[in-house]
Symmetry: C2
Subunit: 346 residues, 2 copies
């Protein structure tokens, strides 16, 4: 049976209040008292009961991180850094998966069970604008949106510039002399912000280079998994004229495409160049290594947590937007194997 505050108080011959003060680092307490209390604490091996404290203060010290699926490399890496960043600020992290279809996303905000278990939510799933609005209306819990770029001042936002990232990736392919450039990753349901922005950036880059975008070269992907990239790449090759480059909306799609092109007997990048977005470790070791647009995930995680905690501390802070930096990371899948061998360790 763990010792309670009262046990410590009686043991140290002081009042409950004094013990509480000492524990919470209250300044105005005499050294003699403090020592007496500290001794009692160590002797009884007392640890505060966080549940009781929470009931009293309303703070749980827990953040929720909501992702589609935690075993997608991008999200597991994000989770890792979010957990670390949260720990630095004294918070722990609970992970919620919405699943490939995000039916549970709304439920999360309204559900019985989940509400009072955390102080704030980091929301990093695929979600449409309408759904998002519906959720924020019904919810008053502090939260930060990750990965969508459509700031409207309603809530805090941390994301890369998706349009520009897609633009940069496509421009890289154009700079290599490619002209029939395909895109993999548009969503059948055009309501999602991220793929929309990436398609737009891709198209703009083509236009700026004097290339007319060919709708037939834009392939949807149900999800952002390897298998989706694989299928999309194979489908792309069924058209009469092959593309000479593919821009994938995620590295995982690109990894799948790489394999799909190889199975079709095509050589990357000689026949077709491939580039993705995310810069997951897997792409550093793949063969060929994967050109990509690198996101600064530690930065994103850190910013997101910092903003969320700030909002928890002061709910009235005006909503802010953080645009995370991205940078082109050319590797073998566009430059060719001769460029160099594996250049980085992950």
């Amino acid at each position: 049976m763990p010792a309670t505050l009262r046990d410590v108080a009686t043991h140290a011959q002081v009042s409950l209040r004094t013990v509480s003060n000492v524990i919470r680092g209250y300044t105005h307490v005499s050294d003699a008292m403090r020592k007496k209390v500290m001794d009692a604490i160590t002797e009884l091996d007392y640890r505060p009961n966080l549940v009781a404290r929470t009931l009293r203060t309303g703070r749980t010290g827990v953040l929720a991180l909501v992702v589609p699926e935690i075993d997608l490399p991008y999200f597991s890496t994000l989770a890792r850094h979010v957990i670390d960043a949260a720990a630095e600020l004294g918070y722990r992290v609970m992970i919620d998966q919405t699943g490939p279809d995000h039916d549970t996303e709304r439920e999360l905000f309204t559900s019985t069970d989940r509400r009072m278990l955390f102080d704030g939510i980091l929301f990093a799933p695929l979600v449409t604008k309408t759904e998002l609005d519906a959720m924020t209306i019904t919810s008053s819990i502090p939260f930060v949106l990750l990965g969508e770029y459509e700031f409207d001042g309603t809530f805090d936002h941390v994301a890369i510039d998706n349009f520009q990232a897609a633009y940069d990736a496509t421009s890289h392919l154009i700079g290599l002399g490619r002209t029939r450039i395909a895109a993999i990753g548009s969503q059948p349901d055009q309501a999602y912000a991220t793929p929309q922005l990436r398609t737009a950036g891709y198209q703009q880059a083509l236009l700026d280079a004097g290339i007319t975008p060919d709708p037939a070269l834009i392939r949807p992907a149900g999800h952002y998994r390897r298998s989706d990239g694989y299928e999309a790449a194979r489908a792309l090759l069924e058209a009469p004229e092959h593309p000479d480059a593919v821009f994938c909306y995620s590295d995982l799609l690109a990894i799948g495409a790489l394999r799909g092109l190889d199975d079709a007997g095509l050589s990357v990048p000689d026949d077709i160049a491939v580039i993705g977005i995310d810069d997951i470790d897997e792409g550093v070791y793949s063969r060929p290594s994967l050109s990509t647009v690198s996101l600064d995930i530690p930065f994103i995680a850190h910013q997101a947590v910092a903003h969320l905690v700030r909002r928890i501390d002061d709910p009235d802070t005006p909503a802010e937007e953080v645009v995370a930096p991205h940078r082109l990371m050319p590797r073998e899948s566009t430059l060719g194997a001769t460029a160099d061998q594996k250049t980085e360790a992950a």
Copy 2:
């Protein structure tokens, strides 16, 4: 301000007790009462305060999952299935990372903050036997150990038969006619159970085939990351006589080795065959696709959660051991690319 039990009671003109009974599905309550209460609940949009409930019952409904790093594919997949399995039983999951060096593992059990925040711990890190003993002594919280195979009846255990898995992988290489078979993944510190068992299985397979194990062919790996596999593979090639096969203690090591061998100008599997353990998705799409020993992670997760919850409900249940099945999954990295093209979707 959220509605409380009291609000519901006054609104429904009944006592607190009755409302609580209805909510908790107590049987002996009249239909009239139940309806009256339910109406009040929906009208006031009442949701029970879980913190208050926890303070009263001592149950948080939260499990902790402790892993080295959540962004290692094996652990993120494990996490995914643990979260799902826990959800089915009404539990949520909190993830703790111990980091590459497991300094924080002990702290987890003794630390102030973390104790009363969850009902049980799923422990899936690298850990030595001595450390484990020390931890279990100081802790009384229900927990289940994942991934080590050294059952001594002290606590619940879920793991594959590491010895046999290594034996099977090595035997597969032997069956292919390979004779100079290296191993990557032994730990410099021999106190860890898993690598030890895998080394033992590897050596036994060699012995049973009449091959004398060559200590020079057993390479340590600091961690189980791609870069460690890469380095180990390169180091292996510096010896005068090359191995003709490599058994890696994890798929991630094998992925790194694959790239390392390729950078050295060697062909897999013609020059060197490679096999791993884990069956991560990445290996299905790599080039060549990675032969491996497949673990049934959903099964492992499900068993682990089930045992933990059982122990939470009845702390006196005798400790049990679950040996999860594994099965050899030969792919291109041992069979060659001609065998077939990508056979499965992940």
